[in-house]
Point group: C2
Chain length 164, copies 2
C-alpha cells in the first residue's frame, strides 16, 4: 500500500477563504522539524506569516495571486553556518510539511524563489544573512479537491535493475 498522503499530495494554488488553525500550523512545522537533516544539524527555522500587509509586501516582490490569498505562508530558512547540505535539508523539510498539510486536509505548493527574490524577502522579513531561503509555502484548504496520484503516474520505465 502506498502511503495515502503521498498519493493525495498535489500542488494547490487556490485556497478557500478559511483560516488555518494554530494547531494545524504547529503540526505542519513539527513535521518539518522531524525531517532528516545532514549530520543532524536541525538548522531549519520557520517564519509563519498571517498578516495581510506582509503577504501583500511579499506579493509585490514575487507576484502570484496565492501569496496574498492563502490563509498562511510559511518560509523555511536554514542556518548555512550549521548545515552542510542546506538545499537538501530545506527540501526534505518542505516535503514533510506538504504531507502533514495533506493529512490535515490542507494544500500547498512549492513557490520557488530566485536569488533576487530571496534577497528581497530576507530584507523585508529581517532574516539574518547567514540563513538561506529557497521557497515560500502557502497553506490553506484547497478551493477544489485535487486529484490524487494513481497508477497512471507510476512509470516503470524509470526503474533500472542493477545498472542503467
Amino acid at each position: 500500500m502506498i502511503l495515502k498522503e503521498i498519493a493525495n499530495r498535489r500542488s494547490v494554488r487556490e485556497f478557500k477563504d478559511e483560516p488555518v488553525s494554530e494547531e494545524a500550523i504547529a503540526d505542519i512545522i513539527r513535521a518539518g522539524q522531524f525531517a532528516p537533516t545532514a549530520m543532524s544539524s536541525h538548522a531549519v527555522n520557520f517564519i509563519v506569516i498571517q498578516k495581510q500587509e506582509i503577504k501583500e509586501a511579499i506579493f509585490k516582490i514575487i507576484g502570484q495571486e496565492f501569496i496574498r490569498r492563502a490563509p498562511v505562508l510559511i518560509i523555511p530558512a536554514i542556518d548555512t553556518g550549521k548545515s552542510i547540505l542546506p538545499v537538501q535539508d530545506l527540501s526534505v523539510a518542505t516535503e514533510n510539511m506538504f504531507l502533514q498539510a495533506t493529512a490535515l486536509g490542507l494544500g500547498s505548493v512549492w513557490k520557488n524563489l530566485t536569488d533576487q527574490w530571496a534577497k528581497k524577502v530576507k530584507t523585508l522579513l529581517n532574516i539574518p544573512n547567514n540563513f538561506l531561503i529557497i521557497n515560500i509555502l502557502p497553506f490553506g484548504r484547497p478551493a477544489k479537491p485535487p486529484v490524487p496520484h494513481g497508477d497512471a503516474d507510476f512509470d516503470i520505465r524509470k526503474i533500472h535493475y542493477e545498472n542503467w
Copy 2:
C-alpha cells in the same frame, strides 16, 4: 495529529538479514515518483541494486558497512536536461521513499555522495552523463526499532511569527 510515519522515520544504518519484497521496492519507488518535481518534469529515475557483487563494488568506492549489508540499495538519478531544480527534486523524492519505507516497517538513511564518489558510481553503473546522483539509499528491516521523534524534538524557538 502528526503523520505517524514522519515521527517514526529515523536514520537506520543496521539491517536484519531479511530480503525486501519486490512489492515493497515498487511501493517505495512509487512514493518517490509521486513526489512533486519542479515544473512537473518527473525526471527522476531509480536504480535498484540487489546483487551482492554490485553492492561490494560500491562499497569499495564509498565505504560504509551498510552499503554491502543492506538487502537493497536504491539510487535516485535525475535528468539534468529536464529538471530545473535537480537537487531539490531528488531530495523530496528521497524523503517520500523514506516515509513509504517507514510505513512498511523498513528503514533507510541518506548516504550522501561527494562529487568524486558520484562520478565513480555513475561509471560503475553506466548512468548517463546527463543524470545527477546525490545519494545512495539502503533499505531493509531495522536491526533494532528506532526511537520515534517526540515532543522533545519540537523546538518552538525556531518558529518566528510575521518576521524574524
